[in-house]
Amino acid sequence: MADPMKIRAAMSGDKVEVKVLMSHEMETGQRKDSKGATIPAHFIQNVTATHNGKVVLSAQWGPAVSKNPFLSFKFAGGKPGEKVSITWTDNKGDKRTDEATIA
């Protein structure tokens, strides 16, 4: 299991601003190791953010997203104290979900 995500969710005017820092290798499948063998790709493919069971953002990523990916977005309809949940799935089927409380 991968390390936990760092999630910040805070009110910004009438919207909720969410910032997520994920911990992931994001290996592209283009690099080679010291023996010349290709390092297999290992990257996050799908990210879903939910609030009260409703999807507020979903993303599909390729291997070009940077190592330890950062994501930030804003959505309407959230209130302080409510939870925002983020889930990612990578190309090896690994999965992680973390949540944060809106400040």
Binding site: M26, N46, V56, S58, P63, V65, F70, K74, S85, E99
Partner: protein, 156 residues
């Protein structure tokens, strides 16, 4: 010891809730589609092909899309991008780096109520045009910006 046990319980509880929510169909029908990874789109080499793989015919240039990024990126491994769209009914935002091995870097689905703007960081192999592709009201629009890279992010 006791606190460890707490953590384990909390962890498994959280997973179970997610599973329940999914099986009870609490998620929007759209999310089932969103869960699938568009392999064809991520294998494309240029924007025209990406648009086709995402289900569009062609894209028009638009000044209503704004790419915020450094003009010169010192480290190609981490280039921050903010893409904002002022087009009404923006449904999806995608980021393409023309000279990367595969053009499409990331795509985001924007449901109603979510601001049409995302920030993320991508790798760039070399100086390249970066295109923000936006799907709004069923049509595709784009804007392009050149970003210079001093140190590539795809080398070994």
């Amino acid at each position: 010891m006791d606190s460890n046990r707490r953590k384990v319980l909390k962890g498994t509880g959280g997973m179970a809730v997610m599973g329940l929510a999914a099986s009870a169909g609490l998620f929007q029908p759209g999310s089932a589609w969103a869960q699938a990874w568009n392999k064809a789109a991520f294998e494309t080499k240029n924007m025209a092909d990406t648009v086709k793989a995402m289900g569009g015919a062609s894209a028009a240039e638009s000044k209503e899309i704004v790419i915020t990024s450094p003009d010169i990126a010192e480290n190609g491994a981490v280039v921050p991008f903010t893409i904002a769209s002022r087009l009404p009914k923006t449904e999806a935002i995608a980021l393409l780096v023309e000279k990367n091995p595969n053009a499409l870097a990331a795509s985001f689905d924007i449901p109603a109520g979510t601001e049409a703007g995302v920030t993320t960081r991508v790798k760039m192999g070399q100086t390249s045009n970066v295109t923000a592709l936006v799907k709004a009201d069923g049509k595709f629009y784009y804007t392009t910006k050149e970003v210079k890279v001093t140190l590539g992010g795809c080398g070994g």
